[in-house]
Symmetry: C2
Subunit: 572 residues, 2 copies
């Protein structure tokens, strides 16, 4: 591997002190770090027009304590009433706690917090103990017209957690974080919404030891935020995971849900299918806390057979070849891979540098005609029954070969799997030196994929010294998603926002969906009415009015329900 002999930036290895801005915006585990490789550092300097001297001084680290100067807007009687429901020990008006629970992992949140800017926070943080607590809280807040927000894993990347109108934030993963029942006959798990990904997956994997089950299971849901997101969060935001091509998106896994809403509580029926009118179970998915609060969910689970997992990776000569092969795989009716990803030429080349491809391997690829800024990396896995995974991998190899790919073995896929939850940790390293890395994503039908890719990419590449990497990672017979990653230097959060607005405008213009699996939140909300159309927004608003006539559930712009487009756009 190439080495930077003279200088390596002082990438931070210092966990943020409790109570600081950085403790709020740092991604993931406070004591975990992942730094750019030396090759990547060289690449970054080159691509962004920077020199070592740009990496000598950090800025906006946010290591100062959060200022303790936010009054609580609730009256004493209200605080007492809420404390009487959940117990005083499960409520706090501590400003730091209120601030912590007001933030997700949206890039502009990090940029602002790094400069000591704090936006709206809740007046009170409450940790409900069980669904009855949630019921009582929502009923009381409905009577008193107190806004109610929900915080769990805190991994939102679209300002979905911002308590724009103050009020109460419910923290769901403090107590409501348990697997309630595993039903082996039905292959379902009933879960409290605040259960984090690793706890859920471990409980299922170790079902024989922990629950006396006959088999091991998997939830099949592995978003990049897996370690810091919850089962409930996956459902209410319509999340997808890295293996969703096989296991389905979060919405597909939901058998039934129990909700608390201002106008009533209910549990949808747990049938595998039914022809009993429009399904309220579907209507609730993706409401992002604006209709009510998910207090229990029954999810499909799958047999856990890691010994059968097969890995593969390929290099395609071009993006067109990679896309064509992937479509053939998605439509071939021989089964589906679990993980399946293709990187466009820029991501492929920068990714190879990130992972440190040996020079020898690079020369071999070039010699065989797989050229930089043309070649495209594909990697993935197959899961399921042993014979099935063998068949599907064989089919994928055949199709890839027909599209002139070279098989690269299992190494790249295994390496990716090992580090797949670690990439976001680099964002603070870059942020410390004034570099912003962020992502936006869209779904797209096959016939519009190249138009969307080129349209958005052209816009991004017009900005000088901006890296734009794209991959597709969720495959359906009818299309896929495009995941755009951009890296650039932004002097001010407003510059960054202006660039982001342009990307969303171009996603809209070139026919992508506004989100494939990140959700809408407040960040993308200004585009939603034009995207869905007035008639469909009116349907969502009718539902909102039905469930929450006083607009206390996650009010203030979420999903674009309670601000008109112009205002929302200005409000950001």
């Amino acid at each position: 591997m190439a080495k930077s002999k003279e200088f390596r930036p002082d990438w931070s290895e210092t966990p943020p002190a409790e109570g600081t801005f950085r403790a709020i915006f740092k991604y993931g585990d406070p004591t975990h770090f992942k730094h750019p490789s030396d090759q990547w550092y060289i690449m970054l300097k080159d691509a962004l027009g920077m020199t070592d001297s740009d990496f000598r001084h950090k800025r906006g680290e946010g290591r100062e304590p959060v200022a303790m100067d936010r009054p609580c807007g609730l009256r004493a009687a209200q605080l007492d009433a809420l404390a009487a429901i959940v117990g005083r020990e499960n409520t706090t008006t501590d400003v730091y706690q209120r601030t912590r629970c007001a933030y997700g992992k949206t890039t502009e949140e990090m940029m602002e917090l790094g400069q000591g800017v704090v936006r709206e926070i809740a007046d009170l943080v409450v940790h409900p103990r069980h669904k009855e607590d949630v019921g009582h809280i929502v009923r009381y807040c409905h009577e008193e017209k107190i806004p109610v927000y929900v915080f769990s894993g805190g991994s939102s990347v679209n300002l979905g957690l911002r308590p724009a109108r103050g009020g109460v934030t419910l923290v769901m993963n403090t107590h409501m974080n348990k697997l309630l029942t595993l039903n082996e006959l039905n292959q379902t798990a009933t879960v409290q919404p605040g259960m984090l990904g690793p706890a859920y997956e471990t409980a299922l994997n170790q079902a024989p030891e922990r629950l006396g089950a006959r088999r091991r299971y998997t939830g099949g849901h592995f978003p990049q935020s897996f370690e810091h997101s919850t089962v409930g969060g996956w459902v209410v935001t319509l999340g997808s995971g890295q293996a969703s091509t096989y296991y389905g998106d979060a919405a597909d896994m939901v058998v039934s849900q129990e909700y608390v809403t201002p106008t009533g509580n209910f549990k949808t029926l747990p049938y595998p299918a039914a022809a009993t009118g429009p399904k309220v179970n579907d209507i609730m998915k993706g409401a992002e806390g604006t209709f009510g609060i998910l207090v229990e969910v029954t999810m499909k689970v799958f047999r856990h057979m890691p010994a059968n997992r097969r890995y593969f990776s390929f290099m395609f000569p071009s993006w067109e070849a990679a896309v064509d092969a992937s479509r053939e795989i998605a439509q071939g009716q021989f089964g589906r891979p679990a993980v399946y990803r293709i990187s466009d030429p820029e991501e492929t080349d920068r990714g190879l540098k990130l992972y440190g491809i040996p020079a020898l391997a690079d020369r071999f690829l070039v010699k065989r005609g797989y050229l930089p800024m043309q070649r495209c990396l594909c990697l993935g896995t197959v899961e399921g029954d042993r014979n099935y995974t063998r068949l599907v991998k064989r089919k994928i190899r055949t199709i890839a070969k027909q599209h002139h790919a070279i098989y690269l073995g299992t190494y790249a896929s295994k390496k990716w799997e090992k580090t797949r939850y670690r990439e976001p940790y680099m964002r603070e390293d870059l942020h410390d030196y004034g570099i912003t890395i962020d992502t936006l994503e869209a779904s797209v039908a096959w016939d519009n994929l190249h138009t969307l890719h080129q349209g958005v990419r052209s816009y991004m590449k017009k900005r000088p010294r901006t890296i734009c990497m794209t991959h597709a990672s969720h495959f359906y017979p009818q299309g896929t998603n495009l995941y755009f990653i951009f890296i650039g230097r932004f002097d001010h959060v407003d510059d960054y926002r202006a660039f982001q607005v342009g990307i969303l405008d171009h996603i809209q213009k070139y026919g992508g969906s506004l989100s494939h699996h990140h959700g809408i939140g407040r960040m993308i909300a200004p585009w939603i009415e034009q995207h869905l159309g007035k008639e469909q927004m009116a349907v969502l608003r009718a539902l909102k009015h039905h469930f929450d006539p006083r607009n206390i559930m996650n009010p203030g712009g979420q999903l674009g329900l309670d601000l008109d487009e112009t205002l929302q756009r200005k409000s950001r």
Copy 2:
């Protein structure tokens, strides 16, 4: 085969005359018939306590012309206005046409029509030419408060087509019956809602010849009513087909839909997935015409590879063994069969008689321990890629064997496939001699299957001389459906209704869904509020009020939206 040497009933081979009651209630093609086999005739007499003399005289044949005595309740100005929209030639006040379009294939409809009883009919039948016509009609009817009903294939089995409040019935399959576009890249077909199953499937199968396509496709949707139901009907009633275990239920195939509603028209976005809030595309599915009118739908299509289809059939020693094996197949994660059906012991034995099993084969089965009223027939097919179908069939054979099934080859499955759309034709043969055959169906989770089966079956078998056959035919990892077929002599339609009410009560009591794929209509509507609960019914009513504030869309009990439960129950 055993032969009835002395007497064979004069099963009708006379097509019903145009304009008669029988022309309305006869199932399927007027010139097609399928009669009970001689073995079945013997079985029927035995099971129902009948003799040859009961089959000498027909009753309630309904061969009389429909009486022409129904006034039209619309004013001349209204008739003129509607004629001005679609052209006079596309409207009619003819009583027979109005009666024909007021009926589906619900058993109680046949029983009443056979006795010359006609319930509510529309005032006017309209044949819209295109979606713009539908838009104009709905807008006009909204202004004038004229009820709007939809008729297409006419295969409803739950009083879903009854124009309970008069008004206008739109016939969708006269003009709006075309495949508009086939998108091979996306594997989607955009279709007008009134396209009948065979026209749709043939167009897809013959896409190279007809549309210049590169490949052949299939819609993958084959309900028993395939020949007499439409793509739009499948979607708005949440239908399933016989191959849905592989291809998915109708709702799963819908990429996007275009609707006309009294409060606005819209088209949902055609993304393969999206995280942009609750999906109006899902909300509309199953609305059974109460929210608006589906005027265009984009469906997923699949590659048509009939040469790869593999057939199988097994005999299991018991229902428990058949269920256990089927669950293992549904959960095994090696792919899925297309058709997959298991019959309970009563259906197995009566089915063997219906198809005329050779005595030799029966003796062989008995000798091997597969005993009458214990053994269970399983049959099915696998579709898709050639290697995939080989693998899936092999897996199914292995699992069946582990559950002590004997492999019966491909004959039973192929025979079933040939005659699968023909069984309903027997209902008029039986009806002519005072025998009623009818079905009700429910979905159920695996852990409740036996309870539901026994609970409903016990109720049915308490009635003397009543045949009750049950199969499961739609398989999911989380459960399946139970399809109950009963045959008995009912002196009066009220006796029949009382028995049916009891079955629905028992489906509810023993935890089945009210419908797996027949929908709700008006027949099952009285149970829906208790089934879904008040809160979820309130959600559906809020949507209804949003789309159709004047209640003109399929009003009068459909889906239980506009009558309280007590009234509905009485109203039937």
